[in-house]
């Protein structure tokens, strides 16, 4: 079965120009309808990682004007004033949902200093901070931050400028902004924040900072959201403490929540380490907590790809994609299996066979981590991660030292959610059950179902989703022990983004643990455009490239509009624990750095970045569990 693309059958179209045409696709549905209720899900597009001027670092890098309210309004399609420029800006494609996730630590600090809020004028340290702010001093440094030494002076300062009263007041404003912009059925806002924890690779310096950041997403509404204030890395840098806090807060308030780790690629091997925060081997209790409180991971964003690094996957010819080989502050970081989603999924199933629980049983989404308040991810609209990066000259000859050079940043990503409606609870529930996927910004529509009873024609059905739900389970779910003689099958349907490139191919990435405890991964091309034939290595040759490097234009003369298939694992051992996820690649399209180079009249080589990229979608995995 492998590699067979089922051509939709033209003969069915008119059913011999006869009476059968009306019956197309409906018979099977009726047969199964009584047994299982079929959910009607639609894909909704959003971002669950966006910063505004309420984030300490966003304000410090030039975003003095875009508030949480403006960020929500921009995502809804309403024009706002562009930060740093005297013009309005409007998103090209509004989002369906958004979570503004400002850093909990010193949230809103500069905004409150700039308006001389009474909460700051009423304390000595608050007044000092206002003076520092007015003199234009570095407020990030002046705040002391979470990594400042724990001296009595620092403690006193924190008790005044990061008091519970201040934290609650700032937070309530964030909750109000979310609530004000919630339009059930049209636009969902999720109340959330970023827990900006770090570890250190040796000495406690900025250069050695390892990224353990998580975004916390809740189902809170405008009222319940104010029954707590966000947990920060000032409270603790240990993920175990964050999970315990979430459990405690959920119990107290009834608000459900979860954490989404991001930029595991910058964690120096710590994000998916085999040990806990104390360096001890992962226990079943740790694994249970982690799996419960971290159902999702952000696989792509502006600071690069966290799927896999080429050095870790020499057989993956598409792995060299938006890879960032630097820690947060630019220190080079070697490849590490603890940094990437694919290797973490492998570690997870291996741990499952060893300790009985999989701590890394997560689905994936993409989001931006943009700090301008403007969730723009198309290559043509990308203005960088920070407000200071918006001017084009800043990309070419920066006047100020740049932490995240624009051309090194990715115009990415998006969270796609299969939900029953565009409401807060429905979006939240879909994320919790991992029926979600991530893209690098493109809106590829991707359905994936796993089961044991699909037939080849299911791939051609018009009610493919109904069949998928009826005969199988959607992405993010589990398959249990295979019936005798059966192997897992996957019903996959990918449709291009109408405003982006055609599709090149659909791949299934399988990871498994064999009977001896050995771990493996394999990539299968399962559907592709045109008449390409697989080579001796089992790989479909490259699709080609239509991008005109002089104009930055491309044509959809190659690639496919839709790709669908039923793929059956050809090398299945029912005793092996396994996972499968789907990756869909577009044909090459221009990268934002090429468009900049054309605008500036410089050679694209000057950007030191590729001229074109293959945008992609990553599904959440489906796990095969031989015993449970």
């Amino acid at each position: 079965m492998e590699g067979v693309v089922h051509k939709r059958l033209g003969a069915k179209l008119l059913a011999g120009a006869g009476a059968a045409a009306l019956a197309l696709g409906s018979a099977g549905q009726q047969a199964g309808a009584a047994e299982k209720e079929v959910p009607h899900t639609e894909v909704y597009w959003g971002d669950v990682h966006l910063h505004t001027n309420y984030s300490l670092d966003a304000y410090a890098t030039g975003n003095t004007s875009v508030t949480p309210d403006m960020a929500y309004r921009f995502a809804r399609g309403i024009p706002i004033k562009e930060p740093g420029l005297d013009r309005k800006i409007q998103i090209r494609r509004p989002l369906d949902f958004l979570a503004v996730t400002d850093h909990a630590v010193f949230m809103g600090l500069q905004v409150f200093l700039s308006r001389k809020d009474a909460l700051f004028t009423s304390t000595p340290w608050g007044q000092k901070m206002i003076e520092a702010f007015e003199k234009g001093e570095n407020i990030m440094a002046a705040s002391g931050g979470a990594s400042a030494p724990d001296t009595p002076e620092q403690r006193e300062k924190r008790s005044q400028i990061f008091s519970d009263k201040i934290r609650q007041t700032v937070w309530d404003e964030e909750v109000d902004a979310a609530q004000k912009n919630y339009v059930p059925g049209k636009f969902t806002t999720l109340v959330g924040w970023e827990w900006t924890a770090v570890a250190y690779n040796g000495e406690k310096t900025v250069r050695n900072m390892l990224n353990l950041h998580r975004n916390v997403i809740t189902n809170a509404d405008g009222k319940s959201g104010k029954s707590f204030f966000p947990y920060s890395n000032m409270d603790s840098n240990r993920p175990e403490d964050l999970w315990a806090w979430m459990a405690k807060t959920k119990k107290r308030t009834g608000i459900d929540m979860f954490a989404i780790p991001h930029n595991s690629n910058l964690s120096g091997g710590r994000m998916f380490a085999l040990t806990d925060s104390d360096g001890k081997a992962i226990t079943p209790e740790y694994a249970r907590m982690r799996a419960a409180w971290e159902p999702l991971v952000e696989i792509t964003q502006t600071k690069g790809t966290s799927e896999v690094r080429p050095e870790l996957a020499p057989d993956d010819e598409f792995a060299e994609f938006e890879i960032r080989r630097k820690l947060l502050a630019g220190t080079p970081t070697p490849p590490d299996a603890g940094d990437y989603v694919r290797s973490a999924l492998v570690r997870g199933i291996k741990l499952k066979t060893q300790i009985g629980v999989n701590p890394f049983k997560f689905g994936v989404i993409g989001s931006t981590d943009i700090h301008t308040g403007m969730s723009n991810v198309t290559e043509g609209d990308f203005t960088g991660k920070l407000v200071m990066d918006i001017p084009l000259s800043q990309h070419y000859q920066p006047k100020r030292p740049v932490i995240f050079p624009d051309w090194e940043m990715s115009a990415s990503g998006r969270a796609a959610v299969w939900a029953t409606s565009n409401t807060r609870q429905a979006i939240f529930d879909a994320m919790k059950r991992k029926e979600v996927y991530g893209t690098t910004g493109t809106r590829i529509r991707l359905r994936v179902f796993g089961g044991f009873n699909f037939v080849p024609s299911d791939a051609e059905a018009k009610d493919l989703a109904d069949i998928g739900y009826r005969k199988g389970i959607p992405m993010g779910g589990d398959l249990t022990a295979a019936p005798a003689g059966k192997a897992p099958e996957f019903l996959i349907h990918a449709v291009k983004d109408p405003l982006s490139g055609n599709l090149d191919r659909v791949q299934v990435i399988k990871g498994w643990v064999d009977g001896k405890g050995g771990t493996h991964t394999k990539i299968y091309d399962v559907a592709w455009s045109g008449n390409r034939k697989k080579g001796p290595d089992g790989k479909v040759p490259a699709v080609g490239n239509t991008v005109d490097l002089g104009t930055g234009l491309y044509t959809n003369t190659i690639g496919a509009v839709q790709l669908s298939t039923v793929w059956k694992d050809p090398a299945f051992d029912p005793k092996d624990t396994a996972f499968y996820y789907v990756r869909v690649l577009e044909i090459p399209t221009p990268r934002h750095s090429l468009l900049d180079a054309i605008a500036l009249g410089i050679p694209v080589s000057a950007t030191k970045e590729p001229a074109t990229i293959q945008e992609r979608a990553y599904s959440s995995p489906i796990w095969y569990n031989p015993t449970t």
């Binding site: 939709r8 059958l9 179209l13 045409a21 019956a23 009423s122 291009k496 109408p498 496919a560």
Partner: protein, 304 residues
């Protein structure tokens, strides 16, 4: 009331309101104000000092500062009194010398206070009646116009599926759909699987063009809505037989649908109009004479 409560919480409002009030009081009481007494006496009491503390800290929480004042040591209180007395004396001297009358910061602040007083007066007026709102809606209809929208479903012949002549096939499909009187909701049972949406209900032409190209959207817009299947229309993805049932031109919503928006706009306009009227009224008491300036279109004396 909600508005009043909101403004009472706003420190800027406090600042301006308190300023405005003092200004008005001063004008009313003149030099006989017991607090100023004669020009050479500075009277200090607790309310004065608590207010002074709040302005010093740019923080307006009377309860908090009331307590803070009571908790002060005698030394600290004396310091506060000294500081207040110095400032008051300096202010009186500056006023006496006429400083500030040419200071643009002060001038702007005064203008701001005037505007605030006017806006407050505007807010005190009774809310608009339904008739007023309706009249306003009618007069400003263009602001509430809705975008053009299209409603259709389609049966699709896919370029990526092996067919003979796709256009002919689409023609045959159209004939069959019309012969069977196929309805809007029957569309999914015919043709190839559609790539994006099956039904487009109340979508703008831009939305349709984003999915199927400008050519498709233009061709569709040229059709008359009908209960007959029409087309086929070509897109970059294949041929589409369409059931185009509704073409709503840019339209005006009913008053009830946009009532809240109308009321907000009405109030904003009324406030601006009131402010202008109040300023115009003020100007009636003034004469303006241009000195050493070239002639303008308007007469130099605009006042009454």
């Amino acid at each position: 009331m909600a508005y009043i409560r909101r403004i009472l919480r706003d420190p800027l409002v406090h600042f301006l309101a308190a300023g405005g009030l003092l200004f008005a009081l001063y004008a009313w009481l003149g030099p006989q104000d017991y607090r100023s007494g004669d020009q050479r006496t500075i009277i200090v009491d607790k309310p004065t000092l608590v207010t002074y503390m709040q302005y010093q800290q740019q923080a307006f929480q009377p309860d908090y500062f009331d307590k803070a004042f009571d908790a002060m040591s005698p030394t600290d209180r004396q310091k506060l009194i000294d500081s207040y007395v110095r400032e008051e004396a300096m202010t009186r001297e500056a006023r006496a010398m006429g400083l500030g009358s040419a200071d643009y910061v002060i001038r702007r602040r005064l203008v701001q206070k005037m505007n605030f007083l006017m806006d407050g007066a505007s807010q005190d007026r009774p809310p608009p009646t339904e008739a007023e709102l309706k009249a306003y809606f009618k007069k400003n209809a263009d602001n509430y116009r809705r975008a053009e929208s299209l409603t259709f479903t389609h049966v699709f012949v896919d370029n990526e599926v092996k067919h003979g002549d796709r256009e002919k096939l689409a023609e045959r499909l159209k004939a069959e759909l019309n012969a069977r009187h196929a309805q809007f909701n029957d569309a999914p049972q015919y043709g190839d699987r559609v790539p994006f949406l099956q039904n487009y209900v109340g979508r703008t032409p831009e939305f349709v063009a984003n999915q199927f190209g400008q050519g498709f959207a233009d061709a569709l817009e040229k059709l008359e809505p009908s209960d007959r299947w029409q087309g086929p229309i070509k897109s970059e993805y294949g041929w589409h037989v369409v059931l185009f049932i509704k073409h709503e031109p840019a339209s005006l919503p009913s008053f009830d649908e946009v009532r809240q928006q109308v009321e907000n706009d009405y109030n904003n306009d009324r406030m601006a109009a009131f402010r202008k009227q109040a300023t115009d009224d003020l100007l009636k008491h003034y004469k303006v004479r241009l000195v050493g300036l070239p002639a303008t279109d308007k007469p130099a004396d605009v006042g009454g």
